[in-house]
């Protein structure tokens, strides 16, 4: 296995092994280079969906694999390690959230919206269902997925989970820094049937951002590990002044710094996963996104520095991972968004409440 997943139960080990083999065989530098954000990568998605991976987190009794959040997170990190250019993590979370709300599974791929912390959609009752108004920007794979799971607010301040059919009219499709499709979608009074709308309770003020944030955090952990793997390998091979550059203390210190960043991001993700069913999940998901996002910038910088000029070219694979890190840290709330949210929460509760919240005693 090329990934870090430390998973203890047999089923998750089987899933990890299967996913690793699948990603390794399907995703090469050539496929990554060829994919275009306007084309749905069916040749990647179909075998991944066929293996059941999008149902990793959906409950077993509802037809899912029923992995723990920690194991599903390890799978998502593995996808990040391979820069899998498909909405696997988005679908894993959407399936789980929808299954929890309705007891049913979605058909096909899915995304989570809003992905931009500043966007808001309003919802109101209509004769034949619910009417939606608003604009959601940069929805991941928003032009290609079969479903978009959305969090919307009513005039009365109540929050709802809404299942939007995919393939809606989108105003623009753009590519993020990694060439992944991001669609702006305008909802100008579109009506969705009542069975596609459910009351939503989890930390409604941040909508689905905690889920999207934890998803990106796990992906970043995988991509950081790959960037660091590539750097360690390169530092061992590249010779200057008669020895591998990895023998120089300056390089060793840089890469050790990056390893510390990665370790902290991994630990923050592990903690959020452990809080999955807890009342404070949104807080810890935000912690994971803030910590991983901060680490991502630092790790990408260090890994490029270690690679020298070749890492700045398309002739080397590093950019597939660092361009994702630079995009993912800004999606579903950047560091400032989450740090501010954490800080407000911590200060609002007061100094005496901080340790009981962080201590692993609950």
């Amino acid at each position: 296995m090329s990934e870090q997943a430390i998973v203890t139960d047999d089923i998750s080990i089987v899933v990890q092994d299967q996913a690793d083999r699948l990603f390794s065989s399907l995703i090469t530098a050539k496929t990554l280079a060829e994919l275009d954000h306007e084309r749905w990568p069916a040749e990647l998605w179909d075998p991944i969906a066929g293996a059941g991976l999008p149902l990793a987190l959906a409950p077993e009794e509802g037809g899912g694999i029923g992995l723990s959040m920690a194991a599903a997170g390890a799978l998502i990190a593995l996808a990040g390690y391979h820069a899998a250019p498909v909405p696997l993590g988005e679908t894993i979370f959407a399936q789980s959230i929808w299954a929890r709300a309705t007891g049913t599974l979605l058909e096909g791929s899915a995304s989570l919206a809003p992905a931009n912390a500043a966007d808001c959609v309003s919802v109101e009752a209509a004769v034949d269902g619910y009417r939606l108004t608003g604009r959601i920007r940069s929805v991941p794979w928003g032009n290609q997925v079969a479903n978009i799971l959305l969090c919307a607010e009513s005039v009365g301040g109540r929050w709802f989970l809404v299942l939007l059919p995919g393939f809606l009219t989108w105003s623009t499709v753009s590519a993020n820094l990694a060439g992944e499709p991001r669609a702006d979608i305008v909802l100008d009074g579109i009506v969705v049937p009542a069975e596609h709308v459910r009351p939503y309770s989890l930390e409604a003020t941040s909508g689905l951002l905690p889920f999207g944030g934890l998803l990106r955090a796990f992906q970043m952990v995988g991509a950081m590990r790959r960037a660091l793997d590539l750097s360690v390998q390169y530092a061992g091979e590249r010779q200057q002044f008669g020895k591998p550059i990895g023998k120089f203390q300056a390089i060793q210190q840089m890469l050790a710094d990056a390893a510390g960043q990665l370790a902290a991001a991994e630990a923050a993700c592990a903690r959020a996963a452990a809080e999955w069913d807890g009342a404070d999940f949104a807080f810890f998901a935000g912690v994971a996104k803030a910590r991983a996002g901060e680490a991502a910038g630092r790790v990408a910088e260090i890994c490029h520095q270690a690679h020298g000029a070749i890492g700045f070219t398309q002739e080397h694979s590093l950019h597939f991972f660092t361009r994702r890190l630079w995009s993912w840290r800004d999606e579903y709330g950047n560091e400032t968004y989450w740090q501010s949210s954490i800080g407000q929460s911590v200060c609002g509760a007061g100094d005496a409440d901080l340790w009981p919240r962080l201590a692993p005693l609950s």
């Binding site: 060793q252 923050a268 810890f284 912690v287 901060e294």
Partner: protein, 383 residues
């Protein structure tokens, strides 16, 4: 590149209940103002606190009952020490003995050493110092020159140790001394000894730190006699023992909670409605701290399983001590402070003074940042 074994361990019931018991104990300590929490940390010496902690069963918790311990798990100890440090408790009197000297004696010491020393440590009455560093052997520990030579009735030690915290309060030092040839890897010929500081042949010279405090010392040994049953482990096994000991020394909550009380004082000063800048910076520190709590708990769980996670321990210390150094810098960016040790009316300024003056030591003690990063680089496969 190897995997890191960081996961978020679920604490066993005994660890949860011991952690909660420690929290109640500390609430009482603070309510009765038994120590000034904003000025103290795990590296503050207070024999009275240690005796109360010992009486409450919080020292030597993992050791066998026959030696005064309670046979609890390392995770229970982790839960208790994390509570102590978060409460700013002055644990240093018993800290070294509980963290590393006691465990070394338990594993490698003679039966007499165990029976005579461990129960007193558990009662919070017996304190240790670490005799590793020397004037010419800091980061390069293998350069140790203090010499132990065999005599008819045991050993004689000659040489000196430096930066020895606690030596002026401690009852014993565990001294790393040269007993043979270093060998090609330089790791051979080192042995650890328990030095009873009440015996003749030892002199302790204070070294005042830049904060004006007497915390560490230089210790001179002049034909200092040590009986055979105060050797720790086999002759020549010192290097391996020291290396294993450092995994305990480097991964605990003492590597990121040294100035936690300053962070709390900041949150208190800022109040319930922080401005955007304050909220963001405090949120950033909390995100770092949360990761560190998990990293450290994770290493405690690995140590319980008998795994010696040297890479993970080095990562905890590197990331943790950098966090500790960050805290006072963030504080002064967010609120105007005038750090001063003697302004009784300004706890934040006092806490900041304490942290700023001690911060340089955070990334030096227990292995410098640069040495740790070298170890991490080795773990990554670069050396």
């Amino acid at each position: 590149m190897p995997n890191f074994n960081f996961e978020s361990p679920r604490l066993p019931a005994e660890a949860l209940s011991e952690g909660m018991r420690a929290r109640r104990f500390l609430e009482t300590e603070l309510a009765e103002q038994r120590y000034p929490a904003h000025l103290t940390s795990w590296s503050s010496f207070d024999a009275g606190f240690s005796r109360r902690a010992g009486a409450a069963g919080f020292i030597g918790m993992t050791w066998p009952k026959v030696y005064g311990g309670r046979e609890l798990s390392g995770l229970a100890r982790f839960a208790v020490t994390a509570e102590m440090l978060a409460a700013g408790a002055p644990t240093f009197a018993h800290w070294i003995a509980d963290r590393q000297s006691g465990p070394q004696i338990l594993t490698h010491g003679s039966e007499r050493a165990r029976r005579e020393i461990l129960p007193r440590i558990c009662r919070g009455e017996c304190y240790f110092g670490i005799g590793m560093s020397e004037p010419n052997s800091g980061s390069d520990l293998a350069a140790v020159r203090t010499k132990a030579t065999r005599h008819a009735d045991g050993w004689r030690i000659n040489g000196s140790k430096i930066w020895t915290s606690n030596a002026h309060h401690a009852h014993y030092l565990i001294v790393l001394a040269r007993t043979g040839e270093p060998g090609p890897d330089r790791h051979g010929g080192l042995t650890q000894f328990i030095a009873d500081l009440s015996k003749p042949g030892v002199t302790v010279r204070p070294i005042y730190n830049l904060a004006g405090a007497h915390e560490f010392n230089e210790v001179f040994f002049d034909d200092f006699a040590i009986p055979d049953d105060m050797v720790v482990g086999r002759e020549g096994s010192g290097w391996d023992m020291v290396t294993r000991e450092l995994a305990f020394e480097r991964s605990g909550p003492d590597r990121f909670l040294s100035d936690y009380r300053l962070l709390l004082a900041l949150i208190d000063r800022v109040g319930a409605e922080p401005n955007a800048h304050q909220a963001t910076e405090i949120g950033r520190l909390v995100s770092h701290l949360t990761a560190l709590v998990t990293m450290s708990a994770s290493v405690a769980a690995l140590l319980d399983k008998g795994i010696s996670p040297n890479l993970e321990a080095a990562l905890v210390k590197d990331v943790g001590t950098n966090f500790e150094r960050d805290v006072p810098e963030v504080v002064r960016r967010l609120v105007p402070i005038e750090p001063s040790a003697d302004r009784e009316d300004d706890p934040l300024g006092q806490a900041a003074a304490q942290a700023i003056l001690h911060a340089p030591s955070f990334t030096l003690r227990g292995g410098t940042r640069e040495i740790l990063r070298g170890m991490i680089a080795r773990g990554l496969g670069l050396r």
